[in-house]
Every structure is written in structure tokens, then in C-alpha cells.
């Protein structure tokens, strides 16, 4: 499913070259549940951004579903993101002026899904995530847990094959955090590949595969 070969990513900070990722080789099969752990600055978010096609590697090859996606131009990468990848962020990233239902609908609007189908899928997702009485509320009228449920509903609205979660519980208390993780793990039953960045060892331990990173390198599994 996901195949990274000798991936490097470096940034220029001032006139110094800083390596965020060094020679990452990684293979993730479809339906895997992977957690990436490590201290801050170890490059785990950079890796997640690369997998999510938000960032390009400085060198190396990234194959998604067997195709080399590093060679794609911006528009083609956007299309891959739209069809295959869902994001769940630490700070939710909901559009403040849109209601919960409209936030869930957003990826389908961008992809040009016909309105009737959109409405149906939004209704299903709202019901699935227990947001029936919150659908017409704006994000600032929702609790943290509800916001993250909206964000997960939005991430799954296009039925992505890969779900990338960057510290999904980072802004939540323990109970709601656990609820959110439960919701994400339910998606594994639908053969979604779940990749989660976290620095909470207890959370990371729930994944079948645990990757540890230090200073831009994979240390062990």
C-alpha cells in the first residue's frame, strides 16, 4: 500500500541545512494500524505530511498503491489526497463559519460530488458519529470531543484508504481522547489503513505496529 524507499527531507534554516528525515525505508500494508512515536522534533509529523502528500521528499521514492506519487504534479497530488487520504489534526481544523454538517460536507463539495449524494452521506455520517442534535452548530458551539468527531466524519466522508491522524487526542482530556481513539479503531474494520502520530506511549501501544523515531531516523519497531 505505502512504500517509502530511502526518503530524505531537509530544510534550510538560515544558511544551514537541517535534516528532518534521513533514509527512511518503510512499508505499510493495506488495513495496517501503525503508530509513530518519538520526542518532538524527531520528524514524525514531517513523515506523516510526506505520506499525506502535503510535503515532498528531498530525495527518495514514495509509492502509493504501487504508483510513484513523488513524480505527480500539484493538481494530481491534490486528486490523490482527495480520493485516498483522510486527515485528522490535533487542533481539529474545522472552518469556523461553517456548521458541523457543512464541515463534514466540505471534502465532497471540493471533489464535486452531486448534492443529493452529498446530503445522504452527510446524514449517514452525522448519525454514525452521534452528532444529530449538533449538526447545525458551528464549531465554537461544540465541545472538543464533538469537534474531533466532526473532523473524523469529515476525514472519512470520501471513503479514504489511508487515514492520517496527527496527535488526534492532543487537545482532549483522557476520557474523550479514548472515545476518539475508539472511533478511529472502528474504521480498521472497514479495511482503512490507520497511521497515527502520538507521543503518548499508552496510545501508541494499541497499534499492531509501533514505529519509533529519533532525530529523523527510524530506530526500531
Amino acid at each position: 500500500m505505502i512504500d517509502l524507499q530511502k526518503i530524505c527531507r531537509s530544510f534550510m534554516v538560515g544558511d544551514q541545512r537541517v535534516s528532518a528525515l534521513q533514509d527512511i525505508d518503510l512499508h505499510i500494508a493495506a488495513g495496517d494500524y501503525v503508530s509513530i512515536m518519538g520526542p518532538s522534533g524527531s520528524g514524525k509529523s514531517t513523515l506523516l505530511n510526506l505520506i499525506g502528500l502535503l510535503d515532498r521528499p528531498s530525495s527518495g521514492i514514495y509509492k502509493l498503491d504501487g504508483g510513484d506519487v513523488t513524480a505527480l504534479d500539484d493538481a494530481q497530488q491534490a486528486r490523490v489526497r482527495s480520493e485516498k487520504i483522510g486527515f485528522v489534526f490535533q487542533s481539529f481544523h474545522l472552518v469556523p463559519r461553517l456548521t458541523a454538517a457543512m464541515n463534514i460536507e466540505l471534502p465532497m463539495i471540493l471533489a464535486g460530488v452531486p448534492p443529493a449524494e452529498r446530503k445522504q452521506r452527510v446524514a449517514d455520517l452525522v448519525a454514525n458519529y452521534g452528532l444529530e442534535d449538533r449538526a447545525d452548530h458551528r464549531p465554537d458551539q461544540l465541545s472538543g470531543g464533538q469537534r474531533q468527531r466532526v473532523a473524523i466524519a469529515r476525514a472519512t466522508s470520501m471513503h479514504p484508504a489511508v487515514l492520517l491522524a496527527d496527535e488526534p487526542t492532543g487537545n482532549l482530556d483522557q476520557t474523550t481522547g479514548k472515545e476518539v481513539i475508539d472511533l478511529l479503531e472502528v474504521l480498521l474494520e472497514q479495511k482503512v489503513t490507520l497511521i497515527m502520530v502520538t507521543h503518548d506511549p499508552a496510545l501508541g501501544a494499541r497499534a499492531q505496529r509501533q514505529l519509533h523515531m529519533v532525530d529523523g531516523r527510524m530506530t526500531d519497531e
Binding site: D55, A75, A78, A111, G112
Partner: protein, 402 residues
């Protein structure tokens, strides 16, 4: 992404920041309204002058005694010397031209007018029955000067409406006698009130037959000969014929000036059209200032919504789509601003028309089109750069809000 969704999304983000949107619409609409109102005023001034001229008569050609190279008054006229005066026979001879429909000779002077104990100084116009149709004048009561021999010095007069009120009040004037200088005249008609036209107030004039005026002022020359050409196309022919006829009668000497109303009118028309263009251009500058404002505010909007743009990219929006979203916002803003501006502008024009009914203010169609074009054009072209900037944002840094 569907077109309707693009517009929906853009209008949603405009509603999201209400005061910003309202201010931009205000700036845009003031610009558009300024173009509409100012060009409306310019066009109104032009039409006012054109109307004033055509109220003097249509297809007019005017013969003046004396040769003046410029449009000013020649030195001879100031000294009371005219090379050779225009006579009544000169005027009658003009009717031989096929291009000329009617002529009205004019003699002008001032005299003491009295009736009973009342008297006042009046301008006396000597002319013929033809003056009425040539000058498009109307009667209130009675008749105008009788048609007949041009040399017949009948003792009849026609009063201007103001003079009639001054002398007779509400009483019947037609049939009464008045005294002009040493001679008694019978009132046979009263002119309808027409107000001032080109600085010449017909309400305060007494009209008598031209031969009577010559006797009254002891002259034989004419002040002007008004010629009405048969149609618009024969104005030039009438002018040529008039010149030729007078030159022949004056022994080959060209000592008259013949002007056409059209030539004077065309000059005014050109000047006032240029004025309207200039004023419209100044107003268009305020429109482009509004365009720069839109660019400025769109740039601020882009930096305020960096996170949203990052999110849209993460959700699979290609750069082109993000550009289209911001572009649609600018198009919506300028369209709404333009419509509001047109409404305000037209309302302003209506208001001016109500306050000054004599001024025919109408925004010309080209100015309305130009206002629409400039507002949409500036709004859209000034949004290209902010939209590009939004589309080029790096998604990772944008999501981090940096």
C-alpha cells in the same frame, strides 16, 4: 467542484466577515455611483444647451450685417457703422432660393411704452408674421402680426406675457391701444410665456411689423434675418444661397456674415461631450481606487485565512480551485458593489432631476456600461494576485498557521 458550490462557498466566506464585505461594497458602489451621477450631470448640461438651441427654431440660418472673421462683435458694430445695411428687399429676395422655406427679418430697438398712466421702457422687435413659426413661439391670446406686404407699416402690436400683466393686469388686453414713442398701436395678441431662451427674454418684448419699427426708430436696416431651411439637409445649401444672393445685391461685396445654428450647436455639443468624458474619467479613477482597496482587503483575507487554505489543500483542493474560490469572492463583491452603485447613482440622478427640473440629467448608456466594466474589471483584475498568493501557499506551513 461545481460552479454553484464555488459561488456558494465564496458568498459564505463573504458573509463570514460582514463588516469587511460591507465596507468593500460601499467603496465600490460609491465609485460606480460617482461615475453615473457625474456623467449624468455632464450629459444633462449638454442636453440643456441642445434644447435651448432647438427652442430657437429648427434648421436655422442667420444673416448678420457686416463681415466678422471671428464670432465676436466687429468694430463697426460698436461704432454704429455698418458697411452696408441689410434691407427689407434683401430679405425678400432670399425667398428665391429653393432651399429656404421661410424668412423672418428682425429689427430691434428700445422705446417708451405707455398705456394710460403706466409706462415703461421696452425692447421692441420689428418682424413679420413668419417670425412665429420660425422661432417656434406660441400665442396666448389673439393673433400674431398679420401676413401681407412686408413694407406695410400697420399700427398693431403683440405684447410679451409679462408686459401684458404689467400694463393690463387681469384685464383684456387684445383690442386696447398702447403708445410706443409717438405712435399709437392696437394690441392684437399676447405671447404665451416662454421664459428665457439663450439670454433673450421673450416675455418682456413688444413685437410690431418690421416697417413700423423702421418708422419708429427712423432706420431702414435690419438687425438680423432669420432663415429657416426646408430641411436639415438643405441647411448648407440655404447658407450658400443666402450668401450668394446678398453678395449679388450688394454689388459683389461680401459684407454679411451667415452662420448656421447647427455649427454653433455642434461646437457646444463637442465641448460639453468632452466635459462629460473628463468628469466620467475622474470618477473612474475613484473606481480604480476601490479596486486597489479590494486587492488590499483580499490580501488581508488571505493571510487571515491561511489555516483554512491549508485545510482546503489537505482535503484535496488543487491550487486552481483555491484560486477560483478567492476569485469568485472578488467577482461577487464587485458585482454586488456595482449593482448597489448603479441603484445609488440612478437614485441620485432622479433626485437631481427632481430638484432641478429644467436640467435633463440622464446618465448616458456608455457611462453606465463603462462604470460596470471598470468596477468588474478592477475588482477582478486586482484579485488575481491575492488569489494566486492563496493558491501558492505551502499546505504544511499554512496548516500550522504560519
Amino acid at each position: 467542484m461545481r460552479f454553484i458550490d464555488v459561488m456558494h462557498f465564496a458568498s459564505g466566506s463573504l458573509r463570514g466577515s460582514r463588516s469587511r464585505t460591507l465596507l468593500m461594497i460601499l467603496a465600490m458602489s460609491i465609485g460606480v455611483a460617482a461615475v453615473v451621477v457625474l456623467t449624468g450631470l455632464g450629459e444633462g448640461a449638454r442636453r440643456y444647451v441642445v434644447n435651448q438651441f432647438s427652442s430657437l427654431g429648427t434648421n436655422l440660418v442667420i444673416v448678420l450685417p457686416g463681415r466678422t472673421e471671428t464670432a465676436g462683435v466687429g468694430p463697426g458694430m460698436l461704432l454704429g457703422q455698418i458697411p452696408r445695411e441689410l434691407s427689407l428687399d434683401d430679405a425678400q429676395e432670399l425667398l428665391r432660393s429653393r432651399a429656404i422655406a421661410r424668412i423672418a427679418p428682425l429689427t430691434i430697438g428700445s422705446s417708451q411704452l405707455s398705456q394710460g398712466a403706466l409706462n415703461r421702457e421696452v425692447v421692441v422687435l420689428g418682424s413679420t408674421a413668419e417670425l412665429l413659426p420660425v422661432r417656434h413661439m406660441k400665442m396666448a391670446q389673439g393673433q400674431f402680426l398679420p401676413a401681407g406686404d412686408i413694407h406695410d407699416s400697420a399700427s398693431v402690436c403683440v405684447l410679451g406675457s409679462k408686459i401684458k400683466t404689467e400694463l393690463f393686469g387681469k384685464n383684456q388686453a387684445v383690442g386696447e391701444w398702447v403708445r410706443l414713442g409717438e405712435r399709437r398701436f392696437r394690441v392684437i395678441g399676447v405671447m404665451a410665456s416662454q421664459g428665457e431662451s439663450m439670454g433673450f427674454n421673450t416675455d418682456e418684448i413688444v413685437t410690431i411689423p418690421v416697417a413700423s419699427a423702421h418708422m419708429l426708430f427712423n432706420t431702414s436696416g435690419l438687425f438680423r434675418i432669420l432663415i429657416e431651411a426646408k430641411s436639415r439637409d438643405t441647411i448648407e445649401a440655404a447658407k450658400r444661397d443666402a450668401e450668394a444672393i446678398i453678395v449679388r445685391r450688394h454689388h459683389g461685396e461680401q459684407d454679411v456674415t451667415v452662420i448656421t445654428q447647427d455649427a454653433v450647436l455642434a461646437t457646444f455639443d463637442r465641448i460639453l461631450s468632452a466635459l462629460t468624458f473628463a468628469v466620467g474619467g475622474i470618477a473612474a479613477i475613484s473606481l480604480s481606487v476601490a479596486g486597489i482597496l479590494i486587492m488590499n482587503v483580499m490580501l488581508i483575507a488571505v493571510s487571515q485565512r491561511v489555516k483554512e487554505i491549508g485545510l482546503l489543500k489537505a482535503l484535496g483542493a488543487p491550487a486552481l480551485q483555491i484560486r477560483a474560490l478567492f476569485f469568485a469572492e472578488a467577482v461577487l463583491l464587485s458585482t454586488i458593489g456595482c449593482i448597489v452603485g448603479l441603484v445609488i447613482g440612478e437614485a441620485g440622478v432622479l433626485l437631481i432631476a427632481k430638484l432641478y427640473p429644467s436640467l435633463p440629467v440622464v446618465a448616458p448608456w456608455w457611462a453606465v456600461l463603462a462604470a460596470i466594466g471598470t468596477s468588474l474589471g478592477t475588482g477582478i483584475s486586482f484579485s488575481v494576485w491575492p488569489a494566486r498568493r492563496a493558491a501558492r501557499l505551502d499546505p504544511v506551513t499554512a496548516l500550522a498557521g504560519r
